[in-house]
Amino acid sequence: MMPPAPLRVLYIEDNALVREITCDLLADDSREIVAVATGEEALSAFEASRFDIVVTDVSLPAMSGFELVRRVRKMAPTTPVILASGYPIDLEECRLGTRVRTITKPFNAPELEALIEDLCGPAAGAAKPT
């Protein structure tokens, strides 16, 4: 029997340290992480390939995480999204639709993995290697 395809996560974070270390924490056999630094790069990646979920920082240069989500939703309206920020976000005010969650920095990997599982199903939240 073929193993299930890994969950494809598009991760956008302009802080290079945070981007690198979050990839190290999240990537495993059940998840494939594609990490980019800007909203423009994310849109290019999203147009070129299929992703199961978008995890994005809110504060990005040139195009904010909010604007990125709006553009992603125009291409794929049901794509689940997680917004990460250093301050609490009022989702009602942002009007980004359904299947959106927020997480406040500093978060730990299990918190982020739980949100991914909540949005994409338990298959995505496979146990990590220890």
Partner: protein, 236 residues
Amino acid sequence: MDALSLGDALDAAAYAWVGARCRHAHLHDIRGELQTLQSSLELLARSARNPGDNIALAEKATALARRALASHEKSLVDYVNRMTPHQEAAVPIEVRDMVNRALGILRNDAANKSITFKVESGADLRILAQPYKAELLILGLLAMTIDELSAGSVVKVLIEAEDSQVVMEIQSDVICPAIRAPEDLWSGAIRVPPFELLLGVTSRWAAANGGRVETSVDSRASGVLRIYYPRSWSDR
């Protein structure tokens, strides 16, 4: 403690406004560094559970944590200095660097409204000023410009030399209010709009150092804010 003048009180009010206005941006940057520390600890814990297989991972996590600590220390020192900018000494400041630092803090505010900043600058234009005080005032004026503009606007920031002065010009659709003297700004019965407070404090700061602030409307009905400040040729 030294007596507090009306000007000092207005300066403090302006700094407080800028600090409150940019609270989210500062929090985001500080918590981004904490995020790296948090994640580094998680990686270290993971490698500790299987030390034989994960020495490289532990070394990488340690290196990342050290970089995050250094960055976090700088952020906290910056933050504390912004709270007490009147206590610092004047040093030569490269104006373009200062403007770019302020725009970096405001990047998300600008992105949220799709506001584009275009910075044009001559090379190596320096002023002798208290760095955090100067940066706070520029940060406040740029933040106010973002707040006043409609979505999709373009702001031009020109930094150039004119005689012995450095001129920083902000061009946008924002029509600046009149520049008011400190005694006109201060009244227990009047709520001062933040833009007027910032303009008044910036004007007083520039004047105290041999410069001035001018506001005008150009031929296209765009607002122009010009800050003149004596140029410094010192780099130390």
